[in-house]
């Protein structure tokens, strides 16, 4: 069982935060005296556990079904074998085993791996032999749509990028950080100590920044459209792939206007028509922003993403952001995310 990549990255990020904060404490207050542990450090040490794992009913006749339900806490990864694979931290599902079967729930956390088993007895059958460990046959291939294109459909986790596990840029590729045009320094975002950040206003992050928030993304592909559903803020993009062109003068919008085309196995999405109210990795932009994204699914479990950013009013030339998003087979839809309970945090700073 491998760790869910996004969880690994999240934990690495916790450490990345905790260490500089500890350093800041030491710098500001001198040597620590019984130095308190960061609350998030403690959170990272909490043991995973199985709260519940059951099957109902425990005995059936051939052709009948059972409901498997489970609950875990503080997991890094959850899986059920056989027949299920990766699982959400809590869930239930209906199964119709053809013969007596023992299902095993396995949870991995900072405290190692724990398992619990339940058996469904199917009348008149004998127990299935335990499944042999899968032979190492390499990653599963990406599924294909009926038209032969790679099918990008799926729920994808937030991904790796520079500093988060992505490979370094290939020689000769575009720069990963922009060079500002002379006089465009004002487009570099400077945050004061009481700035609560890009996302605290619940405004749409735009393209490509909405891919860089820690929320899942669902892709739904048809022969004429690719639809991207961001869980974060319910943002969506409908991208025609039927040869449609951009309108001649699109109204500036948060997520822009996108059209797509296939270049071999790569979906290329061209987007214009943005407003100038979003940021990209610490830089503002003008309404002349032009983003070209490329999506590839080299294996079943991986969505490769790159975005080439251009803005002739701001940047000296195009620059590149890449990510790799992991497939989350345990989910078939993104959750609702309505920004209904946001806060004004300014009063909490005090003086």
């Amino acid at each position: 069982m491998t760790h869910t990549p996004n969880r690994v990255f999240r934990r690495l990020a916790w450490v990345a935060l905790a260490l500089p904060l500890a350093a800041a404490t030491a710098a500001a207050q001198g040597p620590p005296q019984g130095a308190p542990r960061s609350p998030y450090q403690e959170a990272g040490t909490l043991p995973a556990r199985i709260m519940d794992f059951k099957v109902e009913p425990a005995s059936i006749r051939p052709g009948q079904s059972v409901t498997l339900s489970w609950a875990t806490e503080n997991p890094r990864s959850v899986s059920i074998s056989p027949d299920v694979g990766r699982a959400a931290p809590r869930g239930q599902m209906t199964l119709s085993p053809a013969r007596t079967t023992t299902y095993t729930l396995t949870v991995t956390g900072v405290n190692g791996t724990q398992s619990r088993a339940v058996t469904v007895t199917v009348a008149g059958t004998t127990a299935a032999a335990p499944a042999a460990a899968a032979a190492a046959s390499g990653p599963a291939p990406a599924p294909r749509a009926l038209d032969g294109k790679p099918d990008l459909t799926g729920v994808w986790g937030y991904g790796a990028g520079p500093g988060r596990g992505a490979p370094p840029p290939a020689p000769g590729s575009l720069p990963r950080t922009p060079t500002l045009k002379p006089g465009a320094e004002k487009y570099r975002v400077q945050r004061g100590p009481e700035d609560t950040g890009l996302y605290s206003t619940c405004e749409p992050p735009g393209v490509p920044q909405t891919f860089f928030v820690p929320y899942y993304v669902q892709v739904i592909q048809s022969p004429k459209y690719v639809v991207i559903l961001h869980e974060y803020l319910h943002l969506f993009r409908v991208i025609p792939t039927d040869g449609s062109a951009h309108p001649p003068d699109p109204d500036p919008s948060w997520m822009g206007h996108s059209v797509g085309r296939w270049e071999g196995d790569t979906l290329v999405v061209d987007s214009v028509g943005f407003n100038d109210r979003t940021e990209i990795n610490g830089y503002r932009h003008s309404e002349a922003l032009h983003v070209v994204e490329r999506f590839r699914r080299p294996t079943r479990d991986t969505l490769e993403y790159e975005a080439v950013i251009e803005d002739p009013n701001v940047f000296a030339g195009p620059w590149l952001i890449t990510r790799t998003f992991p497939l989350l087979p345990e989910f078939n839809r993104v959750d609702e995310f309505f920004c209904e309970n946001n806060r004004d945090y300014k009063p909490l700073f005090g003086k």
Partner: protein, 126 residues
């Protein structure tokens, strides 16, 4: 380019790092909370707001013999809470819970909570 970086610049840089981290990990920075000096409060749950972009628990806390104070406990968003195993009934009104996190720098009874200890003693990320 900047010249020498003084302590203020150093700390601002760290805030920047924290901000960058927050950009990928949470909905907002934690700069309004004192994360370097963890705070633990124990109280009785009055209500649980199972909402985005953050969930909140309101607990009544009695400290130092004074009258009870209602603390506002901020948790992560629902997506993250679910990934830790939370459901909307994980805490219920009347439960006595303990929250550990960073309290508001202003002194207001408000905190962001990283660990919740439930009535039966088990701890869960938050």
């Amino acid at each position: 380019m900047r010249g020498s970086i003084g302590r203020r610049g150093f700390l601002t840089g760290l805030v920047g790092i924290a901000g960058l981290w927050q950009a990928v990990e949470a909905h907002h920075s934690t700069a309004m909370y004192d994360m370097a000096n963890p705070k633990t409060v124990k109280g009785t749950v009055k209500r649980f707001e199972w909402t985005n972009p953050h969930a909140f628990i309101f607990i009544e806390v009695s400290e130092g013999g004074g009258p009870p104070v209602e603390w506002e406990i901020e948790l992560m968003s629902l997506n993250h809470l679910r990934s830790y195993g939370w459901v909307r009934t994980t805490v219920k009104p009347g439960d006595v819970i303990t929250c550990t996190g960073g309290a508001a720098k202003s002194g207001a009874p408000s905190m962001i909570c990283a660990v919740v200890e439930l009535p039966d003693g088990r701890k869960i990320r938050s």
